[in-house]
């Protein structure tokens, strides 16, 4: 598995995701946003968390139009894997690689806490190391994670089984309390039509070491590296 982590001005989680990928056995290179091509042999393009361009205009809006995003789009069109975490998810939505938009959290607060997620399917390149309906313990840290799309788009995503993760309680139940940013249908992450692009607000890369409180994030990187 060769992964390219695309770094924008204001990205700040690129080292963490690179570390999580290396722990899973991947080769990782960083790619500056002005590059017009990904390194030859790239299997996975990663858009890390952070605050690209200081969240100016809209979260992910300016990064979504960067030169490197044309290369990421071409990679995705060839069936290549793309993972966007937090700001990376916002960039994927702004760039048109995933539908919908991440709006301001419904409670108007920056939320930063441990978060349980329900794994909606375990038959994708991103989740094969998990079980369907498994509840995993990761982290969230964002001010704009409130997933929104028009009713037709939501119906299409749901109908095509493209929800990757949902905010849930310890029993895997989707409660209002567990969905603190107010996302429609408790959506925490979605796939593209061909299931080769995944965007999610939570940070699986935070929880890959017992030392920092959990290892439930490992499954995502292990799935990718498998």
């Amino acid at each position: 598995m060769r992964a390219a982590v695309v770094v924008f001005p204001g990205s700040n989680r690129e080292a963490d995701v690179a570390r999580a990928l290396r722990l899973a056995g991947a080769d990782v290179v960083k790619v500056w946003h002005t590059e017009t091509a990904l390194p030859a042999g790239t299997d996975l393009a990663v858009l890390p968390g952070g605050f690209s361009y200081g969240d100016y205009l809209r979260c992910g809006a300016i990064a979504g139009r960067a030169a490197a995003m044309d290369a990421v789009r071409a990679h995705a069109a060839r069936g290549g894997l793309v993972l966007g975490i937090c700001n990376g998810f916002q960039i994927l939505c702004e760039s048109g690689l995933l539908p919908g938009v991440l709006m301001r959290n419904v409670n108007r607060r920056f939320i930063c806490h441990r978060q349980l997620l329900r794994v909606e399917r375990a038959d994708t390149r991103f989740t094969s190391a998990y079980a369907k309906d498994q509840v995993i313990d990761v982290c969230v840290a964002h001010g704009e994670g409130n997933y929104f799309a028009d009713p037709d788009t939501i119906a299409r995503i749901e109908g095509e089984g493209r929800v990757a993760f949902r905010y849930c309680d310890a029993s895997g139940v989707l409660t209002v309390d567990a969905n603190r940013n107010g996302s429609l249908n408790s959506i925490a992450g979605i796939y593209s039509e061909r299931l080769n692009v995944l965007g999610l607000m939570p940070h699986p890369e935070n929880f890959v070491e017992d030392l920092v409180g959990g290892t439930d994030g490992r499954g995502l990187f292990a799935s990718l590296a498998a």
Binding site: L57, R58, A61, I62, R65, E94, P99, G100, V101, M103, R104, N105, V106, N107, R108, N146, F148, A149, D150, G182
Partner: protein
């Protein structure tokens, strides 16, 4: 020429910032305010004097970057 682009949230899209501003205005005891929606204004300087061409350019600017048309509408005024 100068142009002003106004970007606003579509009807029905939740606006937590507008709600917070509405609540703050309410706390001043200002009466008669029924609702607040927050938007953005872009003031743009244009070269040339062809209004139609300018409007076409500005539409592209809005569609490509200034507005996210999933949740936002825009209006263009050219002075």
């Amino acid at each position: 020429m100068k142009a002003r682009i106004t970007v606003t949230l579509k009807n029905g899209v939740l606006d937590p910032q507008g709600k917070a501003i509405e609540a703050a205005l309410g706390s001043f005891g200002l009466g008669g305010i029924g609702g607040v929606r927050q938007g953005k204004v872009f003031d743009i300087e244009l070269h040339g004097s062809d209004k139609d061409a300018a409007e076409a350019t500005l539409r592209q600017a809005c569609d490509k970057l200034l507005a996210n048309t999933v949740v936002e509408d825009y209006a263009i005024e050219i002075a």
